[in-house]
Structures are given as structure tokens and as C-alpha cells.
Amino acid sequence: MHAIEKILAVAAGKSEVKAGEVVFARIDVAEVNDLYLQVIKSFYELGDGEIVIPEKTVFVFDHYSPAPTIRSAENHKKMREFCREKGIKNLFDIGEGICHQVLVEGGFVGPGKVVIETDSHATTLGALGAFATGVGSTDLAIALKTGRLWFKVPEVIKIEIKGKLPVGVMAKDIILHILGRLKQDFAIYKAIEFNGGVVRALSMDERFVLCNMAVEMGAKTAYIQPDSSTYNYLMGLGCDISVFSEYQTDSDYIYSAKYEFDVSDLTPQVALPGSVDNVVSVSDCEGIKVDQIFVGTCTGGRLNDIRVLAEVLDGEKVSECTRLIVIPASKRIFMEALKKGYVEKLLKAGAVFSTPGCGPCLGAHEGVLASGERCISTSSRNFPGRMGSPDAQIYLSSPLVAAYSAIYGRITNPLHFI
């Protein structure tokens, strides 16, 4: 069996499961974000009663936080009331950060855990060796009511990343490159395991980027086998790692497909507007003027991303022709960035900071785009209209490309300066 199958087997109380089989698995973490008042509506439609897993239930206010509209304020209010009534202590209110990051920092997620979130980027958490997947409101409500949810055991695709990652090339470039090759419907209903020497050498902040964007290929979940980096990271956050269980993939497990990517000659990559799999080397689109640079989100708002940005912008100025918005993925990251001096450097360079959370990524607030505007972003989606006007254009890149683009107000190839 694959490690993912072992996790699901244990959660379903079975000794063995295989791809295609439907299992009813025990849920270890059920996370609801602030877009989903429907979870509470569905919960009550299922009947009165209590949440059977209050200690495993986590609410995070991240997408519309602080509330930009009266309606979202009402939603927050109803969610706070629901948490109080149902004895849910794990409410991470405005400003705590993006659900995936908050769950990790709170010690909720680690190897072997079964995690559902009302957010498609739940795949991010597979970087810790968890089984994590995004669901809708009704599924989440059923889990609150029963403590379980059905899953079809996925086939697993192995992606091995090998070679030597060149200077100036980041995990974001690797995953954009893979997306450009394999395309966005490549892994629907399937799981993706990332493996290989390059993955082993990546920091956890960078591993999260790979797993985060696995969902942009349609993947149900992503997985990286835990190693010493995983445990050092979790212990560094103060997590109790004794509550986690690591599973190993059997040597005779047959993957549904295997791919190898040698990244030794990889250059910084950019996804062109409208489609996350329309990916080119930055040298093929440099010089394009951008009205906004956005560094943030569950893809590109971690400490490493802010560090890269701050080091490039140290002593420099954001071009007068553009604006730079920085949103740390969590309050903890924000505080670390402050302590390390990144925030001051960036503020001096002309960056604008906003509350930890999803920011303008989904077009709700904190920097949405006007028609005809162009933005280069460290986020994961550039669907038409994603960040505001359907006539705005979103380019996706690493924080390094974003940093140099901020100085010049145009998409800029960092390799000219490294």
C-alpha cells in the first residue's frame, strides 16, 4: 500500500484499502473558513444536535477578514455565535492568518492526520505527510455531525524532482514548470506524491508551495514523505510530534504513473494571465508593465517568501509606476518578519502591508484589480476575474521574480542580477 492508503485504512478501521474503494474515514481535523456559513446551515438541515468532534473542529476567518462587507460581518458574527453555542474553542478570528498555515502552527496537522478543509488548497498540508483534502460545506457539515466522511481511495502519481536547483530558481518555478508540462486537469481524482533529491533539500516553506499547487492539476491530495526537515519544522513551531504517526509506502506499491523532472537547467517561470498551465520562462515575458505586485497567500506568503522579497528590496524603492502589497500568511509569520527586520525594509522600500489572510487573491478586498490592470502575484490562481475585474490580467511567479518586478514596475528576470 501507499502511505496515503495506510492513513486512510487506519482512519477507516480497515487493515487494507485499495485505489477506487470508497471508505468512511475518521476525521482528525475539520476546518471551516469564513466563506462557508453554508456549513452551519447544512449542519442544522441535518437536524438539531451537537458536534461530535468539537475538539477537532477549527474555524478560521481568513478569506473576508477583517470583514469588508456588512454581509461578511454578519457571517463572522453568526460563526462566532455558533462556536460559542457548540463549544468549539478553536476559533481563529480575524488576523490570525490563512487556514492551512494556522492549522500547522497550531499543532493540529502532522504526519498521518486526516484533514478536511473548506478550501481547495488543503493539499498544502500533504507536505507534512498528512492526508488533507478540500471539501464543500455539506461534506464538512456531515463530518461535524458524524465525525466521519467518505473518500474514494485515490490512485497515486509519483513526481520525482531531481538535479540541482539553480540559484534564483524556487519551488514556485518548479511547480509552475510541472503545471505547464502536465496541464491543469492532469491529476483529477488522483493524489500526487513529490519525491526526489531536490524535494528532500527544500525547506518546509518551499515544500508547502509544491503541495499547495498540486490542486491546480486537479489533485485530490498531495504527499511528501516526512523526514528530519518535517520534524524539525514542527518542533520549531512548538508542536508535540508524539501525536503524529508516520506511514511508509511499501516497496512493491505500483504508482498509477511516474514522472521525472530534472530542474538543473530550470529558469524562473511565469504563468500567463487566464490559465495557470500557460507557463513560460520569465525571459519570454520580461518587460511587461505591471500595476500591482502581490506577495502573499497560502502559496507565496510564508516567511521565506517575505525574506526573499525583503533581501532584494533592501535599500531599493518600489517603482513609482506600480504598487507592492505584502500580506503575511499568518500573524506568527508577520511577527517573525518584524523581528528579522524584513517588514521595516519593505516599508521603507514602499511596500504596503495588510492583515494576515487571503488578501486580494480571491477578489474580495485588500487590493482588487481594475479593468485593464496587470498584476504579478505569488499566489496560485490567475483565472479570469480572480482578483477583481474580469478584464484585469494576473501573472503568477516566484517571490524573487515579484521582487525585481517591483523595483522596475515591469516583469523582470532576476537572473540578470544574480
Binding site: Q38, T118, I142, I188, K220, L362, G385
Partner: protein
Amino acid sequence: MDVIEGIAFVFGDNVDTDQIYPGRYLDLSDHREIALHAMEGIDPDFVKKVSQLVEIGPVVVAGRNFGCGSSREHAVIALKEIGVRAIVAKSFGRIFYRNALNQGLLLLDVPELKLNEIRGGAKVSIFLREGSLFFDGILSFRFKVPSESFLRLIEEGGVISYIKKYGKLEF
């Protein structure tokens, strides 16, 4: 529910949930209000066109990976509430598929669909238990007949009514 008829609204590949239901309306929770923004990100006149249909509902026809992207159930709720009878596509985004099942909206995987031969406004006839569908009674495609448990879930109007009726979910 053996035969479903409707009018085809044709879309391409990779229609994501931001196009089906833009993120700026995610603070809505009333289903009738949500429905007013169905497909707004890709066709702002969709709701108007659908409301002009008399006695026959819309069937959404699309290419690969329909409903990819975010987990927002609003996308399914909007389409169901506006009266979409079924969605026929080459493939679907995974979370969208689950959400549709949960809301009782019929999705059909039809990998052989030839979008360039299908006329927007064509009359669609779906013969569910025979695994065939017709456009204007002529152009036809086959699909795998959905399992009985899947069809029962749809017929009951989604997972919540199903659980209320049968006590629990089984496959």
C-alpha cells in the same frame, strides 16, 4: 428521472469556479441571491438567458475539468437554484463533483463529447438509464450509466435529504 430534456448552454475547457461564481459574492448565503450570479464570470447574461426559457430548463455542456478551482459550494448552488437540469462535461473538478452530488445536481462524465459540433441552444435529451444523450435528436454521445446509489442520491435532491430519509449514507 429516466429522461431529462433541456436547452444546451455550451462552454469550453477548464471553466473554474471563479467563472461560475465570482469570489466577490462569497459572502452571500441565501440560495436565491446566490443564483443571480450563476456563470457571471464567464457569461454575465447567463441568468437573463436562462430566465427567458419557457417550460424547459438549461443543460450546461462543457469540456474538460468543469468546476476546477475553489471548493466553494456556491458554484453548485447557483447552477442548481437557477434551474440547471444537468451538467454534461468531458470531466469535472473533483470538489465540484462532490458538491454537486451533495446538492443533488446531476453531472454526467461524457469524455467523447465533441464541443465544436454542439450548437448553443440545441435541444438536449438525456436517456439516463440507457447511457445516451442527443443534441437536436441527431448528434448523439454515449456515457457510462451512473450507479443506482448515485442516481438515488440525485433523485432524493442531495445528501441531506438522503440521510434524513434513509438514516445514513451508503454506497
